[in-house]
């Protein structure tokens, strides 16, 4: 078990090294003078020079890369060109809304999608199955922003049940936070739910056709117990895997959802950085998002040992 976890942990090192390498050399491999592009069309030569010096672009490339990696290891993601603040400070200021949104979306998606998938597999080829499958096909096609604006239109503008946009920090009470995060989490969770429901159904269908399920039924085990204890537990590995794969969708979706709902999180930080061409912020956020994805996948790899004892060996 320990060796398994250790091996997984070591495997994340080359992945993160490639991410750092990629993010760093992106700036140097793109055609043209990066300092001039970042400074914009109407910058003076002095301004361009300032940016070049600030980013260390005037030094030899290997020295730059060495310094970059060293800073990353110390938790220094660089300095914003525009505000002169460390990227890490900016990230900390904006972390809460994004984290709350991600956790809420994950919870909503898992809690709604797994029962949907189980039900669809249990009642395969019935009307329920068709509705769930229809939903999962639609969920893949409808873009986050359309779902978001539709939800705002119905639940905030027409019915006035929930706030239109914005975010209430946890410090002002969890009730306000939950109200402000409900619609964004539903909008963002749509694709994720479609993905999880579909894979849950497929995985359950396969398990339900196994002999031990028939044995359990013949023994007279209650249906709910057959479904949850015998079937779902054995169908868990693909479901958990897809939750990990979907996490990447979630991160991309966070950026768009925060823009739709005016949530001042990491996504808005990204969008503001695009508009100001503040490249160090974008670099830092890529590293951070990639690291969080690698971490989630590590946790998922470890969680396999809970579902499948064979992996522990």
């Amino acid at each position: 078990m320990t060796t398994y976890i250790l091996r997984r942990l070591l495997a994340t090192i080359p992945v993160m090294a490639v991410v750092a390498l990629f993010v760093f050399f992106l700036l140097h491999l793109t055609p043209g003078d990066p300092a001039a592009v970042i400074a914009g069309d109407d910058a003076s030569p002095a301004e361009v020079d300032g940016i070049r010096r600030k980013l260390g672009l005037d030094r030899p490339i290997w020295e730059q890369f060495g310094l970059y990696v060293w800073n990353l290891l110390r938790g220094d993601l660089g300095t914003s060109i525009f505000s002169n603040l460390p990227v890490m400070t900016l990230v900390k200021q904006r972390l809460e809304p994004s984290l709350v949104l991600a956790v809420a979306t994950l919870t909503v998606a898992v809690v709604l999608a797994i029962p949907m998938g189980v039900l669809a597999a249990w009642k395969a080829r019935s009307a329920i199955d068709r509705v769930v499958m229809g939903f999962s096909v639609l969920g893949f096609a409808v873009p986050v922003f359309l779902v978001g604006y539709l939800l705002i239109y119905v639940f905030a503008i027409q019915l006035r049940w929930l706030p239109v946009q914005g975010y209430q920090p946890l410090a002002n009470g969890i009730g306000g936070t939950l109200r402000s995060i409900t619609l964004p989490a539903l909008a963002l969770g749509m694709t994720y739910m479609a993905l999880i429901a579909r894979i849950t159904r497929a995985s359950m269908l396969e398990v339900l056709s196994e002999d031990y399920i028939r044995t359990a039924r013949a023994k007279g085990v209650a249906t709910s117990s057959v479904l949850l204890r015998h079937a779902l537990k054995n169908a868990a590995v693909p479901i958990v895997t897809v939750i990990g794969i979907g996490f990447a969708l979630l991160i991309s979706g966070v950026v768009i959802t925060e823009t739709v709902f005016n949530i001042p999180g990491l996504g808005r930080l990204t969008v503001d950085a695009i508009l100001k061409r503040d490249y160090p912020i974008i670099q830092g956020l890529i590293i951070l998002f990639a690291a969080s994805k690698v971490l989630v996948n590590l946790l998922i790899d470890i969680s396999y040992t809970l579902f499948d004892p064979r992996i522990r060996q």
């Binding site: 990204t270 950085a273 695009i274």
Partner: protein, 292 residues
């Protein structure tokens, strides 16, 4: 099955017809998807004849509701949203098709080389793993921020993060084909590597690759819209669906039609492509079809 008398062969023409009908009935999703896509393609090609100038400003017609004159309403500059949506179909289709073609081609080349030459495999696959852990939209944002915005750059920026998934798929197929005896036979009989790769390995990747290409196409169209929505995509003077939606943000509460119509078109397009993809997957791999 019991022994049944062979039915008399029907005349060639009707048998062919019933064969086609049977195919259509069995693969409904592909047909529905293709019909929608064909309609969209016609609209995109005929855009200049179907709708007026998408860039024409008419300040007196600001934020008009959908009506007989403006089917999809007007935006804050008095531009006809219908005309902008019709022209936007061109951008979405160009981006979807170009990204699908480019990503599949590059992924195929890298994947076949990786699966065949085990020495480069380790390094290239580590690189692909790293790229896959960067969210696609952020990778595209980083590329676009560093270059002058143009449709070409958008296509390149969306293609790059799509490549690793194609590489993985192709590589896994190549690895399984490579282990089969006929490849050993080809090597033993002195066939050149390039011939083995092109004549014996490539054809086996075709079926899964076609399915994957449809998903890449759908995902590219959504990513382009997302990037344009965030202001990091297609240059704002080009009326892509994402750009139309992006402009509608400010006036959403009083003019929701600016967002709804392009959003709906986007959803229908992606749905149609996914239907074709799902249908093709079921057709080409009946083993999965039974499960899904």
């Amino acid at each position: 099955m019991a022994i049944v008398a062979e039915p008399l062969p029907a005349p060639a023409s009707t048998r062919q017809q019933s064969g086609t009908m049977r195919w259509v009935r069995r693969h409904k999703t592909i047909v529905v998807g293709l019909v929608i896509l064909a309609a969209l393609f016609i609209v995109a090609v005929a855009a200049p004849w179907l709708a007026g100038d998408p860039l024409q400003f008419e300040p007196t017609n600001r934020l008009k509701k959908p009506s007989g004159e403006f089917w999809f309403g007007t935006d804050q500059f008095g531009r006809d949203v219908y005309s902008r949506v019709v022209h936007g179909a061109r951008i979405s289709l160009i981006v979807g098709l170009c990204v699908a073609a480019l990503a599949t081609f590059l992924g195929l080349v890298i994947g076949v080389l990786c699966g065949y030459y085990r020495r480069i495999d380790g390094i290239v696959m580590r690189f692909m793993d790293g790229m896959m852990s960067i969210p696609a939209i952020l990778l595209a944002i980083a590329l676009i921020t560093l270059m002058k915005a143009s449709l070409f750059i958008v296509i390149v920026a969306i293609t790059i993060p799509e490549i690793p998934r194609v590489v993985r798929l192709v590589r896994s197929v190549v690895l399984s084909v490579r282990a089969r005896p006929f490849i050993d036979a080809a090597i033993a009989s002195g066939t050149r590597n390039s011939v083995i790769m092109i004549r014996h390995i490539l054809p086996n990747t075709a079926a899964p690759l076609i399915v994957q290409a449809t998903y890449v196409c759908a995902s590219a169209i959504l990513t382009e819209a997302g990037l344009s929505f965030l202001g990091a995509g297609t240059p704002p003077e080009i009326p892509s669906w994402g750009n139309v939606i992006s402009l509608g943000r400010t006036f959403f509460q009083i003019a929701p039609w600016i967002i709804f119509f392009p959003g709906l078109c986007l959803a229908i397009t992606v749905l149609a492509i996914n239907l074709v993809g799902d249908g093709l997957r079921d057709m080409l791999d009946p083993r999965i079809a039974r499960r899904m």
